[in-house]
Chain length 140, copies 3
């Protein structure tokens, strides 16, 4: 594995969890602003966009964690942590854009996908290299 | 890292996964009781509260796992595992309360936040200490 | 722990993340086919089934990851990875079935549960054995 004590990955992961907590809070504030009491999840378009923005972040969060850690453990911790920060910035851009209009969610969303793709392609490289080394290594 | 073979963390994590499975089952039972066939997710208030209670648990579950493991690996495994059990009890309180009334979800929810905050603050301490040690350590 | 460098677990995990990305894409395609713009999540039955199929996969994904890794780290990596592949096939069966009719989701769903149960029971065995070894071991 690329690292023994993955402090950078842990730090980025914890930061991203704080971000997720903050985004959940934003939904709560939107509930208050529009007086929409749980368990109701429908209301004015602005609330529904905020709610869906958060849902989309929730849906993608495990995919982010998986690609962050497989990239960081089997390819490069520093590169994974840096790309993880890009993903977080992209998610914020996405969320802020989406709360304004459905269309404005797109730039952040595409950047999100680019970060996820980077992490997962590097993870594939690292894991493939590791599998070849471990199971198909032939010393000359 | 604080631990080599994180058996306590793994045990609490697995228990929490069983709890999540049980809560999903509760939604299924509520579907049956109110004859609400998937994919419908709206119905009488009691069903909608049960459904949303579960959704909220799902949304927070990755944040719980992240703070449990970062706290356990970089601060203290025993403390993290114990706080993890508190979180599970809080979630159960929240879920049971929410199925009764929207207001009764609050005590469990606040306890949930307290457990999450404890885990994540200790994780921040542990990770910061680790980062200082690893990247800024100057032997005298 | 059963393994030092869990490459097989990492490989299956990354594959499952790709699958989740693909299923999210299927919801996007269904949106386009039925001209349902976000943040709307209701529409013709076929779209709603596709949407709920994905949601259910999202809800169970952390439970899958937890049982895959606890089984793989504390019982057997190869067995966990193989059962993980079964889970992925079951999820695909579930998703494809659900998009066709509510009833056709069931075979895949039951297979999903069987895979999860296998993983988590083996994880319980492995973790219990580990805990007994670590905390209650008495050398003769």
């Amino acid at each position: 594995m690329a690292t023994d004590s993955p402090l950078l990955l842990a730090a980025v992961t914890l930061l991203s969890a704080f971000q997720m907590g903050y985004l959940a809070r934003r939904v709560g504030w939107s509930r208050m602003a529009h007086k929409i009491l749980p368990p109701v999840v429908s209301g004015p378009p602005e609330f529904e966009r905020t709610f869906r923005a958060h849902q989309n972040c929730v849906e993608f969060y495990p995919l982010f964690l998986v690609s962050l850690w497989t990239c960081g453990m089997f390819f490069s911790e520093v590169l994974a942590a840096a790309t993880g920060l890009v993903y977080m910035a992209a998610r914020q851009l996405y969320f802020n854009g989406y709360t304004q209009s459905t269309k404005k969610r797109l730039p952040g969303f595409y950047l999100t996908l680019a970060a996820l793709l980077t992490l997962s392609v590097l993870a594939v490289v690292g894991i493939t290299r590791g599998l070849l080394d471990k199971y198909f290594y032939t010393p000359i």
